[in-house]
């Protein structure tokens, strides 16, 4: 009989960490060619269409950036929290909170000077998401309530708060549907490239990547936050105020998710509605893991997911593959990445006996 055991391996050289995502993507595409074949498609034609559809023309490429923008923000939100072992599964709810705040400013603050509208939307959107995330952070540090459960459940609380607002004070006058009035034009994110949807929010996402990278590697807070994540006991021993670090981490994490909500209002939909997010908050978790919790990794993972989701439409038209293949590719890519990451630390040994 052959038996399998998992044993620790020698530390791998550091360049491996760069090769792994590429290898994981390659293996993912290899695995997902099986369902494509089953669906009667030609694998090369299908993947050709997928990448052409996402990257092949200027318009498609810009659209891929548009789609990546909220994913970068929720991915960073989750990654930043996870690094400090604050298990924030609540980016979806924090995104809603940001979207509500942005809608409120965009619809009602018509008296404000035009140049203050967007800054105020961003500020309140960030704070709304950030403060919503402080609730589970307090519960975790003061009462030791499990943060996975609280952050997840608060998503539904915020969903229903949003529902109450959309059937109540925020509902568009005269509408029977749960939707808000449209925000004023001066609350739109400016379009930066003509004849496309390439908007100001994409710049915000880039800035967020740099900001998180800066916080992580250059600030005292980044050091403390990492320390709290790696060894809470040692962090306390070293005089770090661990409760405060977790709280600040939660505000930044929730704030980033809130900014994703602002973007959906200010750049895409221009009004609030119940299905404002196709699960960006949850996809953010996958992206954070896929990006190995590193801001650059998160950016690449978000871009990859965006390629899949934008390109799948072309693939479906050209190769006749159902669009649901995106879900399969996303799921498989996460599994492959996690297995690859596991294999950087452990190896499988087969023994005959």
């Amino acid at each position: 009989m052959i038996s399998m055991s998992i044993v620790k391996r020698k530390p791998l050289p550091s360049w491996v960490i760069l090769v792994i995502p590429v290898a994981a993507v390659f293996v993912t595409l290899l695995i997902t060619s099986i369902p494509i074949i089953i669906a009667g498609g030609n694998v090369f034609k299908a993947y050709g269409a997928l990448f052409y559809g996402a990257l092949g023309s200027k318009f498609n490429l810009l659209e891929t950036f548009v789609k990546a923008s909220p994913l970068v923000l929720t991915g960073l939100a989750v990654a930043f929290a996870f690094r400090a072992r604050f298990w924030n599964i609540g980016a979806e709810g924090q995104l809603f909170a940001g979207a509500i705040a942005a809608t409120w400013v965009g619809v009602y603050f018509t008296w404000l000077p035009v140049f203050l509208i967007l800054p105020l939307m961003l500020l309140l959107g960030f704070l709304a998401g950030g403060l919503w995330a402080t609730i589970p952070a307090f519960l975790k540090t003061k009462l030791k309530v499990d943060d996975v459960v609280t952050t997840l459940l608060l998503n539904y609380v915020m969903l229903h708060i949003m529902g109450a607002l959309l059937f109540g004070p925020l509902q568009m006058p005269g509408s029977a549907w749960p939707r808000s009035a449209s925000i004023m034009d001066s609350a739109f994110y400016p379009i930066l490239i003509a004849r496309s949807r390439f908007h100001f929010g994409i710049i915000i996402s880039f800035v967020a990547i740099l900001a998180i990278w800066f916080i992580n590697s250059k600030t005292v807070f980044g050091y403390q936050s990492r320390g709290v994540g790696i060894n809470l006991e040692a962090a306390k021993f070293g005089g770090i105020n661990t409760g405060m670090v977790i709280l600040k981490t939660a505000i930044i994490s929730g704030g980033l998710a809130g900014l994703a909500g602002v973007g959906e209002i200010a750049a895409i939909h221009h009004h609030l509605m119940m299905d404002i997010s196709p699960g960006y908050g949850y996809t953010g978790i996958v992206i954070a893991m896929l990006g190995n919790l590193h801001p650059i990794g998160v950016a690449l993972a978000a871009f990859f997911f965006s390629i899949i989701s934008v390109g799948a439409q072309t693939m479906s038209r050209v190769a006749g593959i159902p669009i649901y293949i995106t879900g399969i590719i996303e799921g498989v890519s996460l599994m492959t990445m996690l297995i690859f990451l596991l294999l950087t630390e452990y190896k499988i040994r087969w023994t005959k006996s």
């Binding site: 060894n231 040692a234 962090a235 306390k236 021993f237 005089g239």
Partner: protein
């Protein structure tokens, strides 16, 4: 065991080791930390598969794929940390895994247990709950468990490390009874005195290889010691003299509980002065850990006060303690002292990362960190592949050097070290000892909390003994009397 070989990744933990055990014999297995003693025993007990060699029991070759196979062949292992269910009774613990059928037959089991207890003089109430038992009694229970399973060969991993001197004597009596009735024992220890006392033969391991086998009657402590370390085991410490000055650390009526809510530090006071080493002796588990946690600021004392250089320090606040400049060497370097996944340099700045010049206005200064870390690595000769590798790639001795470098580089007035050499090999131990002595001659006060009595005697100027959270007595090392300290350690005041 013939030519037993076991590899981990690229480390050979056991390299063609032979070990023979005859009936009615106690064999001592000697070696430094990392010499491969525990691995060898885990192979014998079925935890690990062999990579080479074979196991023979009564002349027959056997292969174990799990501890159950080993138990079925009459082998039992008594770990240093007991594997008992604290909330169950003695009887229930003995019966675990041996229930037989679906229904528990407690009556039959009690009869069998009492018979074993009588035969070997191990008297324990079968109905007693485990956590109410003393450490010595819990160890008896572990032995009973083994005998109940019909064990003929007992492997004991450092059984005396947790015992008071009197309990050790009792244990040895039990072992003699066992041997007389035909059992065999493998006794793992690096306590040479005890090995000489209880063992018939010893096998010495060094870096995974068997370097010698000796009859105890034909060997001596110095010979075994030099076989263990491969050189003369004589610490060449320079014991400089220092002038004892003003108090630098005072504890007044400290009281604190352990994590089970029981009083662990009980109205404890002491004074530590400049230029002296105050040793805190005691059997482990008598409140030393809790005392260190209070002094380090990790735990707030229920009552009492701490003064550093005459100033009262708020309890339960690590950063307040750090600001006093106290050097803190925690008992558990891996869970408390270090971020194992972070780099060496990031571990060097754990306590100084909020201070200039390491950081300013919330931004860290990488250049300062690098030069500070390089100094630490050079001054304390830390063996590492640079400062950027994760600290977990370092050996135990070098991990401790990272902590020493971090804690001692600021010329502290007070050093509190809790079990600073636990788990270190002789070379690293010597290094730590010398570092403590250097601190003293430089004028610091050093509080040395240790359950290694040899270490306490070697370094201290004054010795206090802790028992159940209280100080049993104090004496200067000049008048030190091992017997008296031994009595104090077991709670007998005289």
């Amino acid at each position: 065991m013939r030519a037993v070989t076991k590899r981990f990744v690229d480390v050979i933990a056991n390299d063609k080791v032979d070990l023979k055990l005859y009936p009615k014999e106690v064999v001592g297995l000697l070696g430094e930390n990392g010499a491969g003693k525990t691995t060898l025993m885990n192979v014998l007990f079925g935890y690990y598969n062999l990579d080479g060699g074979k196991l023979l029991i009564n002349g027959e070759e056997v292969t174990f794929s799990s501890p159950r196979d080993a138990i079925n062949h009459g082998i039992a292992m008594i770990h240093q940390h007991f594997t008992l269910v604290q909330t169950q009774t003695v009887l229930e613990n003995v019966m675990i895994g041996m229930e037989g059928s679906f229904f528990l037959d407690k009556k039959k089991a009690t009869v069998k247990l009492l018979k074993i207890e009588q035969e070997f003089g191990l008297n324990l109430d079968p109905k007693a709950i485990v956590w109410t038992l003393s450490i010595g009694e819990q160890q008896k229970l572990e032995i009973l468990k083994a005998l109940y399973r019909g064990a003929k060969i007992l492997i004991m991993d450092e059984p005396t490390a947790v015992l008071a001197p009197i309990e050790t004597i009792e244990l040895f009596e039990t072992l003699h009874t066992l041997v007389d009735s035909g059992h065999s024992i493998i006794f793992i220890s690096h306590h040479l005195q005890e090995v000489m006392e209880i063992c018939d033969r010893v096998v010495v391991l060094r870096t995974g290889k068997r370097v010698a086998g000796r009859k105890v009657s034909e060997s001596s402590i110095p010979e075994l010691a030099s076989l263990m370390v491969g050189r003369e085991l004589l610490e060449r410490l320079e014991k400089g003299e220092a002038k004892v000055g003003t108090p630098v650390l005072e504890a007044k009526n400290l009281k604190g509980r352990n994590n089970r809510g029981l009083i662990a530090v009980d109205n404890l006071s002491f004074t530590l002065r400049e230029g002296e080493i105050l040793g805190v002796a005691g059997v482990s588990g008598n409140g030393q850990t809790e005392l260190s946690e209070i002094l380090f600021g990790q735990v707030k004392p229920e009552e009492g006060e701490i003064f550093v250089s005459g100033k009262s320090i708020p309890g339960g606040n690590p950063s307040a303690i750090i600001k006093t400049g106290m050097a803190r060497i925690p008992e558990d370097r891996i869970t408390t002292g270090l971020f194992m996944d972070l780099s060496v340099k990031e571990n060097m700045i754990l306590e100084s990362h909020v201070n200039e010049p390491i950081s300013k206005n919330g931004l860290i200064n990488m250049q300062e960190i690098r030069s500070f870390s390089q100094n630490c690595i050079d001054n304390f000769s830390v063996k590492t592949d640079g400062m950027d590798v994760p600290v977990k790639t370092l050996s135990g001795g070098n991990l401790q050097k990272v902590i020493l470098a971090r804690e001692l580089s600021g010329n502290p007035k007070v050093v509190v070290a809790c079990q600073p050499t636990r788990g270190l090999d002789v070379g690293a131990m010597e290094y730590v000892h010398q570092a403590m002595l250097n601190q003293k001659t430089a004028g610091s006060g050093v509080l040395l909390i240790s359950d290694d009595l040899d270490e306490i005697f070697l370094l201290s100027d004054r010795i206090i003994v802790m028992y159940e959270g209280k100080i049993m007595g104090e004496m200067s090392s000049k008048e030190a009397d091992r017997d008296k300290i031994g009595l104090w350690m077991s709670g007998v005041s005289s």
